[in-house]
């Protein structure tokens, strides 16, 4: 009896999110209509109808009175929402005929929503504005979080809302009220959208793109940069623009996009010094700089890129794109993967796994956890050097002074271990599909860290089962495991009653 009651509550909220996905298709539908792409518009109308009606169908299962959500239910809703939203959002892609199968379309939606950036689309250069808008919009929405979206627009005083907010691995709240937190996240993103869209549109105009195209390319490039997603409207990725100023602007927005939303809010509203003192920003700046030196040194000594500008635009850009989880590239995969030495590749793989900040649009292990682990090593050394009777306290600053304890370190190490295991499993699966080990390790790191840089594995021609493995890896990496484990336990209990 208890299981049935929980199931109806979960179904209601998941249905709500499915209906939201349908409503969001109004945005690409509008772009398609303004661009006079009538066939694409019909695809969106059909998909929208399916998403809204299935969402409303699920919502009708709501119990008479919505109960307060438990932590487990919150996490199950977060994990399940992604699984329901993904096939619905894939409908317009599938109907467009630019994806060879429905699985390929689902792959691209999961790639967009998890801000990974891999794509299996065919003829990208000839893609309609409506479909391109949906691709980039999905990536942008995914950066904010599907749950954040639902909290912002639909839920005003949801009991237990905080529980499914945390289920999406968004971390700490910006404001005491969870709905205000969701709105603050949107406010930050919208302010940056206005700034970034304007800047990139101006740069695209300067490059000679027609005004309408410049506006759309500016919008899409910003959406994919801010969300650290890495989708691009052209097959050459960012190399299409071939412009140092455009790449430099993207670099700045990649860095800012990978910062913690909590940090943005603290800097904007409370304490400007937080940006210099925060453990996460200090760790991120350190790892980016150290890994960038390795990549640029390796490329330089091999004579791959000789001058300062080339090292910055190719080497540093690649590293930054990997570390922030964006996955943009200024050169083709066979240039960065095929021509780079083992040291540069190892550094890029490490960067992809490390990722950006917690509670940001980035994936990966996150700088906060890396910083905590480094602090714990320092703490251990200090404890070993101190007299037996001494009590050694290690502190760190992340929005406030906090005393490091074993519980925090253990939780960080658990996530790191799960990331490494997922990466290893993905590497083994890719190698089992016939790709060489270096390619497999690179691609798996890119999938697990939600990056999108490819070593040439991801394509429509890869085995279907490997696409499914990558879809699961992207999902696990984005939700940081716990929500998915709780969902599996919930399903197990539903099936076996234990």
């Amino acid at each position: 009896m208890t299981v049935r009651w929980e199931w109806r509550t979960v179904a209601y909220y998941v249905g709500l999110i499915a209906a939201v996905v349908g409503a969001l298709m109004l945005v690409p539908l509008t772009v398609a209509m303004l661009s006079q792409e009538w066939a694409v518009a019909v695809d969106f109308v059909l998909s929208l109808s399916v998403a809204v009606s299935s969402g409303c169908g699920l919502m009708m299962l709501r119990p008479h009175r919505l109960p307060d959500l438990s932590w487990a239910e919150g996490m199950v809703i977060a994990a399940l929402s992604w699984l329901v939203a993904t096939p619905l959002a894939a409908l317009p892609f599938w109907l467009s005929g630019q994806w060879l199968s429905y699985l390929d379309a689902v792959f691209d939606v999961m790639s967009g929503l998890t801000t990974t950036g891999f794509t299996l689309i065919q003829n990208l250069d000839y893609t309609s504005n409506g479909i391109n808008m949906w691709r980039h919009f999905l990536s942008w929405l995914g950066g904010q979080g599907v749950i954040v979206l639902a909290l912002t627009f639909l839920v005003r005083s949801l009991p237990g809302a905080v529980r499914f907010y945390f289920g999406e691995a968004k971390g700490e709240r910006l404001e005491p009220n969870i709905v205000h937190t969701a709105r603050a996240i949107w406010y930050i993103s919208l302010v940056y959208l206005a700034i970034g869209w304007t800047a990139l549109t101006m740069l695209a105009l300067r490059l000679g793109l027609a005004p309408g195209r410049a506006v759309l390319h500016g919008l899409w490039a910003f959406m994919a940069t801010w969300s650290t997603g890495g989708f691009a409207p052209m097959a050459q990725n960012l190399g299409y623009y071939h412009d140092g100023a455009f790449e430099f602007a993207v670099m700045l927005f990649m860095i800012v996009g990978s910062l913690n939303f909590h940090l943005h809010w603290a800097v904007w509203t409370r304490d400007r010094r937080e940006i210099w003192r925060n453990l996460e920003t200090v760790t991120f700046a350190t790892t980016v700089t150290v890994l960038a030196v390795l990549v640029m040194w390796d490329m330089s000594r091999r004579g791959l890129y000789a001058g300062t500008a080339a090292l910055l635009r190719k080497g540093y850009f690649l590293l930054l794109s990997a570390h922030t989880g964006t996955g943009y590239a200024t050169v083709a995969p066979d240039q960065y993967f095929g021509a780079s030495g083992p040291l540069a590749l190892a550094a890029v793989i490490a960067a992809m796994l490390l990722g950006g900040s917690a509670s940001s649009t980035s994936g990966g292990i996150k700088a906060f956890r890396v910083g905590l682990i480094v602090k714990s090593i320092v703490w251990d050394i200090r404890r070993l050097l101190a007299p037996d009777s001494a009590v050694v306290i290690e502190k760190f600053h992340m929005f406030r002074e906090t005393v490091l304890d074993d519980r925090l370190v253990r939780s960080a190490l658990t996530v790191v271990l799960l990331y490494v295991l997922t990466w290893a499993a993905g590497t083994a699966a890719t190698a089992a599909a016939g790709y060489d080990l270096a390619q497999a390790a690179f691609e798996s790191a890119s999938v697990t860290g939600n990056v999108g840089l490819s070593a040439g594995v991801t394509s429509a021609a890869m085995p279907a089962w490997l696409k499914v493995v990558y879809i699961l890896q992207m999902w696990l990496g984005r939700l940081e495991f716990m929500s998915v484990f709780v969902l599996l336990a919930y399903l197990w209990r539903g099936m076996w009653g234990r």
């Binding site: 700045l252 700089t289 330089s300």
Partner: protein, 51 residues
Amino acid sequence: MRWRDWWEDVTSGLTELGRRHLAGVALELGAALLLAAAAAGLAWLLSGGRP
């Protein structure tokens, strides 16, 4: 709400945005610029001073 109240709301909102939040944006972009400048310096050193 009269149009004057509405206009005051809009202008005070924009003032707040400009005074506090855009200063935060400028600081964040400045920090990103600093990180990129450090990388440019390192790239210059590693390339032996070649442009």
